[in-house]
Symmetry: C2
Subunit: 203 residues, 2 copies
């Protein structure tokens, strides 16, 4: 399994259970230290600039020790109009969001920020997601599952919303909140990955 | 949660743990009755014709009762050349497959077949999947996880191969083995879904 070089400790600056699950599935071990910062878009800030700023602020909120590598992330959902769909606060907001997503594509942006030795790298990943046309009863039934409330855009791609989503273009894991290939690439390009032992493939 | 109309029992004709997980995640209840048929491509059979034939044969192998709805599926991975990559039998085969997938895109085809009342509908879903360039040590390290062996193409998109996959185009769940939106659509168009109770969204 992939690992950081010995002596380095990976810290995930997020309380998202989905990010935790993805980083574990990819084989990494880490501790969790959520960073709490205000999450308010600035006027005229693009979705990608917004998530990049938040991920970077979350990473720097933690003030890491020299042996710590901080991974922070932020995800938002945007309509073509640029309107951001963040976590719905109540049933009405969830209904309006899902109605806005029905029968069309939207964009999911996740920024990841890797901070180590006072140096950080931030990457923004974009995925297009298509929703099938949803009836009002499908939307109401879905909201009743409770899934929308802690998720940007009001849906969980990996839960009961899966049946509404015929197509994506881009990184799937980005839609779940952590573009795991890009995380791996940042570790690798940052020289943070331990060298794998390389037994012969013919052994 | 979505359900078939009362009195109908859904039977999943597959022993794949991933198909079981996806159908459960989408909210359906079902029993499992794997159908065992020979899985051999005919000469000049296209990947999509091949999986369509197998899914249909699996469904018809079960001889369902009138109150049963059978869902069968078959998945294969194909290179642009048309070469099929099925489940690797050993380390050498897994190595050759992952080497062939490295640094390029390939196609995943899953056929689903819904059989009820002696009538069946078969749908084939296609997704393009991109692999990052893999080093030999990454391939060897990945094979050592044991993930390749029970999976078409020798990788699991939802496991430790996630870090190698920057992009897909199409249905993600298709790559996991069950295009759940198309399953839901077949249930819906077949008139098999129970009507949801529709509380007012404003309630």
């Amino acid at each position: 399994v992939p690992a950081l070089i010995p002596g380095l400790n990976l810290v995930l600056a997020s309380q998202s259970p989905r990010r935790r699950e993805l980083l574990s599935l990819a084989g990494f071990t880490f501790t969790i230290q959520p960073a709490s910062i205000p999450e308010v878009p600035s006027p005229d800030e693009s979705p990608s600039a917004y998530v990049a700023r938040l991920a970077t602020e979350k990473a720097h909120a933690l003030n890491p020790a020299p042996n710590q590598v901080i991974l922070a992330a932020d995800t938002t959902v945007a309509l073509d109009s640029g309107l951001l769909l963040e976590k719905p606060a109540n049933q009405q907001e969830a209904f309006a969001m899902l109605k806005a997503l029905s029968g069309r594509s939207h964009s999911v942006f996740t920024a990841i920020c890797l901070l180590h030795n006072k140096h950080h790298t931030t990457h923004v990943e974009h995925t297009s997601v298509w929703f099938a046309p949803l009836s009002e009863s499908e939307i109401v039934e879905y909201i009743a599952t409770g899934e929308p409330y802690d998720k940007a855009g009001g849906y969980g791609v990996q839960g009961q919303a899966s049946k509404f989503i015929p197509r994506i273009e881009g990184c799937f894991f980005n839609v779940m909140g952590l573009p795991i290939h890009q995380v791996y690439r940042l570790f690798s390009e940052g020289g943070l990955l331990a060298k794998a032992e390389t037994p012969s493939p013919a052994s």
